[in-house]
Amino acid sequence: MARPASNAKKSKFSLEMEMKRAAAVAMVIITLFAGASLAQVFGAGVKGAEKAKVSQILASPEKYVGKKVDVTGPVVNVCKSRGCWAELAGDKDYQSLRVKVDDGVIVFPPALLGKTLTVEGEIERVFIRCSEDATGKKPCGEEKSVYYQIRATGAVSE
């Protein structure tokens, strides 16, 4: 008669152990998934280049042209049709930096809006040669203005 009681005790104990083990596994899985949902990696990710603020880049952009940097800021605009560019707000008011990616290589989804994004890439100078009359039919070789953007090879959102 003592045997079944002992067996029952044993099976209860092993059930408890199993439940604890399952809970531990579930916790690990949940932690992994939570971690995955917190950070999203785009392209080659961020490997760690010189950190630069948007205000620093815009204050002396020529110093940064061709230089690989990591820039962090909240995403305030994205290309909604193809996800081929995003815009990071600067650390100072009225400043932002355009993040350009090669079409299809990295795609920024609209869900990134408002999230903090760290981008790695080279700062590049872009000449605007035509403005409103850019129909492609008129030749317009004259440089009208210039802006600076980061050509991203990778990014990580928080």
Partner: protein, 179 residues
């Protein structure tokens, strides 16, 4: 081994297996083909309202209540003097504190078509790239094996040759005309 029977069986079974992927690529292909006319992946709703008064400072609450924004604020950005952008969970709000004009953008993934486009454009990358490669190879096999399904006047030396040739000529003609 009866090659004809094997070809027919493979054509049939691969055709069944890849029917779903063919529909996926066909449906999203039509949507993506017209990306210039509409946003194939997202539904972007835009609304503009005019608020009576927007204070120059501490105006976030005024703007949020004017548009009835529900989600928590993710980011506040001032792109230019007198302009403020508030991004909430689900809304992208841009306000002009001088004119009182507030524009709200609500971006939603299009049901059904968003996942299809997501896969068609290979956004998942990784293993999906190889799955799509296998599908492309299977399509090539289906095209080639289809030529040998029927014998006689409707087979490779008859109707099949004429129609397949015409089908292959089609992209060539378009290329020559438009390139």
């Amino acid at each position: 081994m009866n090659w004809g029977r094997l070809n027919r069986a493979l054509h049939r079974d691969l055709g069944y297996f890849f029917a779903g992927l063919t529909l996926l690529y066909a449906i999203s292909g039509i949507a993506l083909n017209h990306a210039g006319d509409f946003n194939p992946s997202y539904n972007v709703e835009k609304e503009t309202i005019r608020a009576a008064v927007i204070p120059q400072e501490g105006n976030e609450e005024t703007i949020l209540s004017a548009v009835g924004a529900k989600g928590p604020v993710k980011t506040v950005f001032r792109p230019a003097p007198g302009k403020i952008q508030i991004i909430t969970e689900g809304e992208n709000i841009a306000a002009d504190t001088v004119t009182g004009e507030i524009s709200v953008e609500r971006i939603r993934e299009r049901p059904l078509i968003f996942p299809l486009n997501y896969l068609h454009l290979n956004h998942p990358k990784g293993a999906w790239t190889y799955a799509a490669d296998i599908y492309a190879l299977a399509l090539a096999f289906l095209a080639a094996s289809g030529l040998f399904l029927v014998k006689g006047k409707n087979g490779l030396m008859g109707r099949a040759m004429v129609l397949t040739g015409a089908g292959m000529l089609l992209p060539v003609v378009f290329y020559l005309i438009y390139h």
